[in-house]
């Protein structure tokens, strides 16, 4: 039974080691903030941070994550105080909102790697994430705002 470090807490996960993190989070641990969109790593709705890198949780077996620090949307802040969350609310990024946890987690990884990203940096980093509602213009603005730019 793998033990994972999720949002700073040690969690025993009663699941087979090959289970992708997404299903362990959603179905075993009842943490439903990370979303299922495609299951094959091409939409980004399930993105979480693993040791501060964005990872597609639908593809990552939990056995590969033991001993690593996993951050999900539920652990980004406890009170929506992360600059990305604040910017997302204020600039009204979400439409249906379903992909936005993944967008925010991927953007969080971007800001860790490039604290003041240019438009081109944002394009290069974020273009793997599908937003079916088409909120990209606002995602870009919100990342800039969160970066203090």
């Amino acid at each position: 039974m793998p033990t994972l470090m999720i949002n700073g807490q040690s969690r025993e996960v009663n699941a087979p080691p090959e289970m992708p993190l997404l299903w362990a989070l959603r179905d075993i641990l009842n943490m439903t903030g990370s979303k299922y969109g495609c299951g094959v790593g091409v939409c980004g709705a399930c993105s979480v941070l693993v040791d501060n890198q964005a990872v597609r949780s639908c593809l990552a077996p939990i056995s590969t994550l033991v001993g690593k620090n996993i951050t999900t949307i539920e652990g980004l802040s406890t009170d929506n105080s992360h600059p990305l969350q604040k910017a997302w609310i204020e600039l009204d990024v979400p439409q249906c909102g379903y992909c936005q946890a993944g967008q925010i987690m991927n953007a969080a990884a971007l800001l860790i790697s490039i604290p003041k990203p240019t438009d081109e940096d944002i394009d290069n980093w974020m273009h793997d994430d599908v937003c079916r509602c088409g909120t990209y213009q606002r995602i870009r603005a919100a990342i800039h705002q969160a970066a203090g730019g």
């Binding site: 699941a15 925010i104 394009d123 290069n124 509602c133």
Partner: protein, 781 residues
């Protein structure tokens, strides 16, 4: 805020004030403090039985105002905008407003959410609801203070005595308000005095969404719930012949792998989604493939053309006659959240949780699937991860109810992404054959269209003489349904492109040509505004083009799009200008979002996506082969809202129809190439005026698809110099990579290209030597 929480008639908390307003203007008040329990009153002219409120307003002692809305949220911002309408007339403190979702069959009116009709259809009633509450609060304050009602004003949930010092919050007045007769004719505000409507308000659910707390259908978790998927038939009309579930049942966590009455496939139920999917993978199924395996897209296309047949002629007096045929593909909805539903069917009752545009439809579907009376079924509408019309269907609710009924356990049924894409109700494919005529001085003399299937045609919104529209029927096994802007997604495209063809044939400016065919009014105004905002007459750089289109679908909308097309046919969208007149814009921030989103939909479907049929089944399965625009392909969209005091119209779909014709008209302007089928193929874009010289030679690209790096090598004929320029662009023309490399004097070259930083998808690699170019498509996994 809890997005999932739903209300029947709201349960009064101690001393809460609750009022329900129906379409015919009656009210009901409950107050738990009076007579030791609930007090229920109805107005004299209506009996309790006929009272069907469509909105509930509850004021709690702490000042929280809870507004129950009947329409469901799929990203169109309806929970925010409907609540804003009530709060406006109520003069409620917006910062203390919460929204709850109504349940069907509980006196909440129709829950059907579609046709961009939620705001326009509820506006008057919601205003009256808010005004009624405000009136009662004023009456309560006047009674409490023994002053005339005319001496009371309201603002932010507070009644203030004019020329006095007394103030009372709505919460402080709820006991007195409960003793007041509900007025039937509360005065509405003058639109000019709105203070909340017309302001920019972020969606009320944003805090839940960005923290991961928002509950969509797939996020519902109830005690004892299991997870169900279905091995779906591999073609339309296929069915299970035999199956062997023995391997599936060996997978740890798999509970059931069986047929379920009413479901065409094999159902797998497990402790978690992963086990359910593994179990499904392990099934051995032999299928009866049915009668449709010989059907593919070309067969459907031929059938449409045959069904249209010949088109009658425009008047013989026409000096110029043109004809053109357009063809559009099926489209999937591909909502980010695939179809799903939670059902808990018990012996004599059931509860359903469903992300649905049709709560009433879900209730009926569950009743039909279970045999239970609708009164025994509770339906909760969750947030939807996108809708676009797909969630007006209720197939997924039937699946969930049948599975729960059969296995006697609460289950979450879901489609995988591929299930969802292959089992949709698609935007219909269509074929449109046009003839048009012009007089010698460029006036339209005839407009004739034949279309298949017949429901996908519409006459133009312009004043053309005796337009003719006839249709042929189409036999196709592909199920169809409502897609964002329904038939307008196709009709406005073909009409606005053919109108452009007439303008060009008349040697007229496409904007002025349209303008001359429109009466003075709001549609012409948005067209004028779009041309003006886009600086229509300003010269463009070489290789650029500009296109225009407008529509009166749900609201008045016009687009001007500028594109550039390189000499090798690489398209780039340089500018998008959108103008909308939707009457009163309840929440301009939301209106802009809808116009931006509709534009992304339209560009995605114009440039990247189509559903094709192979062997009686949908070929596409995920966002790789049914692509949507990505952030790096996103042009800047400028949205202008025409100020208006007219009654609101719909905005969820209005921003779609005029985008793709404006785009293709711009492509024509840049290249003189007329696009008559979507999505646009790059090969269609090489400019007629300046044909690119194709580089001759032998070029190999491998592997394809590749994952991180690929190699390109070969030998070109008649090499100039010793350098080649390699450029990789995405489908929208964004330059992803460019470099030069050397070749031998005889033209031999070999180059390894590391393209690991790019996303999956299709890219164009061009190799240039002097003025000669060769283009190869490369696919990244």
């Amino acid at each position: 805020m809890n997005s999932l929480t739903t209300l029947d008639m709201p349960k009064p908390t101690r001393r809460s004030f609750i009022i329900g307003i129906s379409a015919v203007g009656v009210g009901m008040v409950l107050n738990s403090t009076l007579a030791g329990g609930s007090l229920l009153r109805t107005l004299q002219e209506e009996s309790a039985q006929s009272f069907e409120p469509t909105v509930w307003v509850k004021i709690d002692p702490d000042g929280t105002v809870t507004i129950t809305v009947a329409k469901s949220e799929m990203g169109q911002g309806i929970r925010t905008s409907l609540a804003m309408i009530v709060a406006e007339e109520m003069d409620a403190d917006w910062s203390k407003v919460k929204v709850k979702q109504a349940r069907p069959n509980a006196g909440n009116g129709s829950l059907g959410t579609g046709g961009s009709g939620s705001v326009s259809g509820s506006y008057n009633n919601l205003r009256r609801a808010g005004a009624t509450v405000r009136s009662m609060m004023i009456s309560a304050a006047a009674k409490k203070w023994s002053i005339a009602e005319a001496n009371c004003t309201t603002k932010k949930s507070v009644v203030t005595e004019k020329n006095g010092t007394r103030q009372a919050t709505y919460a402080e007045l709820i006991d007195v308000a409960a003793t007041i007769s509900v007025p039937t004719n509360a005065t509405l505000k003058n639109v000019a005095n709105f203070t909340l409507i017309g302001t920019r308000q972020p969606h009320i659910d944003n805090p839940d969404i960005v923290s991961g707390k928002a509950i969509y259908g797939l996020d519902v978790r109830i005690p004892g719930m299991k997870y169900a998927v279905v091995a779906m038939p591999p073609a339309f009309g296929a069915s299970v012949r035999t199956f062997d579930a023995s391997d599936a049942l060996k997978i740890p966590g798999v509970i059931k792998a069986e047929r379920v009455p009413g479901i065409s496939g094999v159902v797998v139920v497990a402790d978690n989604t992963f086990a359910a999917l593994q179990g499904r993978e392990a099934l051995k199924i032999e299928w009866n493939m049915g009668n449709n395996v010989s059907i593919d897209s070309s067969v459907i296309s031929s059938r449409m053309k045959t069904s249209v047949g010949t088109v009658s002629d425009v008047p013989a007096t026409s000096a110029i006659k043109i004809e053109a045929a357009y063809e559009l593909p099926y489209l999937a909805h591909a909502t980010m959240e695939p179809m799903n539903c939670v059902a808990d069917v018990r012996t004599d009752s059931a509860e359903i949780w469903c992300p649905s545009q049709s709560g009433d439809g879900v209730l009926n579907a569950a009743a039909q699937a279970t045999g239970l009376a609708a009164s025994k079924i509770t339906v909760n509408t969750t947030l939807m991860g996108g809708g676009f019309g797909r969630r007006s269907n209720t197939d997924f609710a039937s699946y969930a109810a049948r599975i729960s009924l059969t296995f006697k356990m609460p289950i979450l049924f879901m489609f995988t992404r591929a299930d969802d894409m292959k089992n949709d109700g698609y935007r219909p494919a269509s074929y449109h054959s046009f003839k048009g005529g012009l007089s010698a001085d460029g006036k339209v003399t005839g407009w004739i269209q034949k279309v298949s299937p017949s429901n996908m045609g519409e006459n133009p919104t312009y004043q053309v003489p005796s337009p003719s529209l006839t249709g042929g029927s189409l036999s196709s096994p592909v199920p169809t349904g409502a897609w964002r802007s329904v038939q307008h997604s196709s009709t406005v495209f073909v009409n606005e492109c053919f109108m452009d063809e007439l303008a060009i044939a008349a040697k007229a400016d496409p904007y002025q040509f349209r303008r001359n065919l429109l009466p003075a009014g709001r549609l012409r105004d948005v067209l004028d505004q779009a041309a003006s905002r886009a600086e229509w007459t300003k010269p463009l750089p070489p290789g650029w083009g500009r296109g225009i289109a407008c529509t009166d679908s749900y609201a008045y909308c016009a687009h001007v799009i500028e594109v550039s097309v390189s000499d090798i046919g690489i398209l780039k969208i340089e500018r998008v200008v959108a103008v909308i007149d939707c009457g009163v814009a309840i929440n301009p921030m939301g209106v802009e979002a809808q116009v931006e989103g509709a534009c992304v939909d339209a560009l995605s479907t114009a440039l990247k996506s189509a559903i094709t049929i192979e062997k009686g089944a949908v070929k596409q399965s995920t966002f790789i082969d049914f692509e949507w625009l990505r952030i790096n392909e996103m042009p800047k969209i400028e949205v202008y809202i025409i100020p208006s005091t007219s009654s609101p119209r719909g905005v969820g779909e209005a921003g779609y129809p005029s985008v793709s014709p404006a785009l293709c008209n711009a492509i024509y302007d840049a290249t003189k190439k007329r696009i008559r089928s979507l999505p646009v193929q790059q090969s269609q874009l090489i400019a007629v005026d300046e044909p690119a010289t194709e580089l001759q030679g032998n070029v190999n690209v491998y592997p394809s698809p590749f994952s991180t790096t690929f190699r390109i090598d070969g030998k070109i004929e008649q090499p100039k110099g010793n350098e080649l320029t390699f450029t990789i662009q995405n489908l929208l023309g964004s330059r992803m990579m460019e470099f030069t490399a050397s070749m031998t004097p005889d033209g031999t070259f070999s180059q390894e290209i590391d393209f690991s930083h790019a996303s999956s998808g299709v890219f164009f690699l061009s190799i240039r030597n002097g003025r000669s170019v060769i283009v190869r498509k490369v696919v990244k996994e």
